[in-house]
């Protein structure tokens, strides 16, 4: 996984609540067997009309937001399906940070596995930032210091300590867990006597 570095970008604001993962990446694009290449289909039904032509006034189709690395959105972002294609599509488009007042659990976790930082802020702060985004000026997201800087203002944000470490160091989850292999083996030994039916042998 790519190490998460400080981001400097003009943020795009999508003023919709309950953006579900079907909206982020519709099912016809889930047929892929790869993780890459989904960026062009991000928010497909909002970005393209039925003939497949770009809808010019959709924010991510307009300059400078078509190059945004930061997306600000309404509450309960990423609800619905567990599809990791949603963060893959965001990442492939170039978005590595989402800012919302709340997320669905599965999507939230999926972000961290892909080097995307989902920031939770109170509604009032979202309002402040979304207002600022109209100026089309860069903002800075600094994960190390847990701080968003816009103009002369700063907003601090909270984040799980371990998740932060994984993002900053770009850690491979599986390798970390495999280091605990002796513990897993020990657990399996106990399991086969405590709940032997689990192994079905």
């Amino acid at each position: 996984m790519q190490k998460f570095k400080t981001i400097k970008s003009i943020p795009a604001y999508l003023p919709i609540v309950n953006i579900d993962t079907d909206m982020i990446i519709p099912k016809q694009f889930l047929k892929t067997i790869k993780r890459t290449g989904l960026g062009k289909n991000l928010f497909y039904e909002m970005r393209y009309n039925e003939k497949g032509t770009l809808i010019n006034d959709f924010i991510l189709n307009t300059s400078p937001f078509n190059n945004s690395k930061i997306l600000i959105a309404g509450k309960n972002f990423g609800c619905g399906s567990s599809r990791e294609h949603a963060p893959w599509a965001l990442l492939d488009f170039g978005i590595t940070c989402v800012i919302s007042s709340s997320y669905a659990d599965i999507f939230y976790n999926n972000c961290f596995k892909n080097g995307i930082l989902p920031i939770v802020l109170p509604e009032a702060k979202i309002k402040e930032l979304s207002e600022y985004s109209k100026r089309k000026e860069e903002i800075i997201v600094n994960l190390e210091e847990q701080k968003i800087t816009f103009g002369n203002n700063e907003i601090e944000f909270e984040i799980d300590r371990f998740k932060k470490k994984c993002l900053i160091e770009g850690l491979d989850d599986i390798a970390l867990s495999l280091e605990k292999n002796p513990k897993i083996t020990e657990f399996e030994k106990k399991l086969s006597s405590k709940r032997p039916w689990i192994f079905n042998d």
Binding site: M23, K31, T32, K75, P87, S102, N110, W197
Partner: protein, 467 residues
């Protein structure tokens, strides 16, 4: 200290806990399907890793499979590749797979219980948000992303932080024509689509215990639509009877040991819940969604809400957006809304009792002329059972299309989908924009309500058709 059922299952699966509470949990059962697994297997190959416990893993293709004649294979090239990739991966990594032409093939959340793979007290995961279904057996079951699928394949564990405890108590009895689908729709309407975020829900109360095993699955299935990753119900004799003798259920002395363990799986009487909500059976009526989120729900006697009456700006905008997408006007009686299609099936309502419910309503009646109606059984075994009971004939005689098992038009990844502006009464779980096809308009209902809508040609009250 007193514990909830969730606390107990959590504790029994702890492999390791860090100081900050981040824990490594052992996974007893891993279900795999073709859409969310190819990248996980690819990851294993790239890092030269194996599947740690192939025998705790079960795979099936369900999302992409055609529900029409399968003798010609899959027409869509990408769907075909995805299904073939699953077959190859299962062979390479030694995982049991129910292939497309196996009669045990079906929707992953239907075949798990059907085979007895789903068991009380276990942790069950799958790269699919409706894994919550299996919580009906008193297991901790939840959806995971593809990176987590890879993690489970490689380590048989998952890194998790503990959720909070939420109890939803439903007491009383179901009125005639009301089903567990109406119960869960009403719950989601009450708590909202993010009401359960950060929680594991335990469903309790006399009405919940009175439900059949399959009815319980419908409730747990849609837990994710209320924002909680997992919802569970204390297992009881009905669950044990259901599992006894299933192909993958424990046998002989293991059965006795399992039963002893399962019987103790319950929340302590004085266990603390971080949040509680109570509903009364007598207040639950047939429900239908009008908007593009499962929380947009009203009773079948209700009217489409007016955004002007909303004080909250976000909510107002959201209603306006939904109504525009759904092509509906505020104040319209929902019963006056004409439909084009009916879909009966999905992991929410594709089991035998669901088909029986719908067949009872449709028997000796005809599907309205302008309506196309389809039944997609949840698995090959559900289909076989229904055919033995003659339900296929009841559906076909009334004008329904009788299809092969799969996810089908619940998410429209295969050829079954709505055209723009087509309106569907659907027994599935999501009414999101574009879910059943671009521009398609979904109204979520119970199987009986879907049958009633098929007959009337518009959304209708199933209670009108009770014999």
């Amino acid at each position: 200290m007193s514990k909830t059922l969730y606390d107990k299952i959590w504790d029994d699966h702890l492999v390791h806990t860090q100081d900050d509470g981040t824990s490594l949990l052992y996974v007893d059962r891993h279900l795999v399907h073709e859409v969310t697994s190819p990248q996980a297997f690819e990851g294993l190959r790239n890092s030269n890793r194996k599947v740690r416990q192939p025998n705790l893993t079960l795979a099936v293709a369900d999302h992409n499979v055609p529900t029409s004649d399968r003798s010609k294979g899959i027409y869509d090239e990408e769907s075909k590749l995805q299904v073939e990739t699953l077959e190859k991966n299962c062979e390479e990594f030694g995982i049991k797979l129910f292939g497309m032409n196996d009669k045990r093939q079906g929707i992953v959340h239907i075949i798990g219980p059907e085979q007895g793979f789903t068991q009380p007290g276990s942790i069950i995961v799958c790269g699919d948000s409706h894994t919550a279904t299996h919580g009906a057996f008193g297991s901790l079951a939840f959806g995971i992303g593809t990176s987590e699928v890879e993690h489970v394949l490689a380590t048989q564990t998952l890194v998790q932080k503990k959720s909070k405890n939420f109890r939803i108590k439903v007491d009383g009895k179901l009125s005639i024509g009301v089903t567990s689908k109406d119960v869960i729709l009403q719950i989601i309407g009450k708590i909202g689509t993010a009401g359960g975020t950060g929680y594991v829900i335990e469903y309790a109360g006399s009405l919940i215990s009175s439900l059949s095993v399959e009815q319980r699955m419908t409730i747990c299935n849609m837990t994710i639509e209320g924002g909680a990753r997992a919802g569970l119900i204390e297992p009881d004799q009905k669950i044990f009877d259901y599992l006894n003798g299933r192909p993958m259920a424990p046998k002989k002395e293991n059965w006795d040991k399992a039963l002893d363990y399962w019987s103790k799986l319950k929340s302590d009487n004085d266990a603390d819940f971080d949040k509680e909500v109570t509903l009364e059976g007598k207040d639950i009526v047939p429900m239908v969604t009008w908007g593009t989120s499962p929380q947009d729900v009203i009773s079948i006697d209700g009217r489409i809400p007016n955004p002007e009456n909303e004080a909250d700006e976000d909510r107002k905008n959201s209603i306006e957006r939904s109504l525009k997408y759904m092509g509906l006007k505020p104040g319209t009686a929902i019963k006056d809304v004409k439909i084009d299609k009916v879909f009966i099936g999905s992991c929410t309502n594709g089991r035998i009792e669901d088909l029986r419910d719908a067949a009872k309503i449709i028997k000796n009646k005809k599907v309205a002329q302008h309506v196309y109606a389809m039944v997609v059984p949840g698995s090959g075994l559900v289909k076989q059972q229904a055919e033995q009971e003659g339900l296929d004939k009841v559906f076909k005689d009334s004008g329904f299309d009788w299809r092969e098992p799969g996810c089908s038009m619940c998410l429209a990844m295969n050829a079954d989908k709505l055209k723009p502006e087509e309106r569907c009464a659907s027994t599935s779980n999501r009414n999101f924009e574009g879910r059943q096809g671009r521009g398609g308009r979904t109204h979520l209902v119970s199987p009986g309500m879907a049958a009633a809508a098929a007959i009337s040609g518009s959304l209708d009250d199933v209670r009108k058709f009770q014999n």
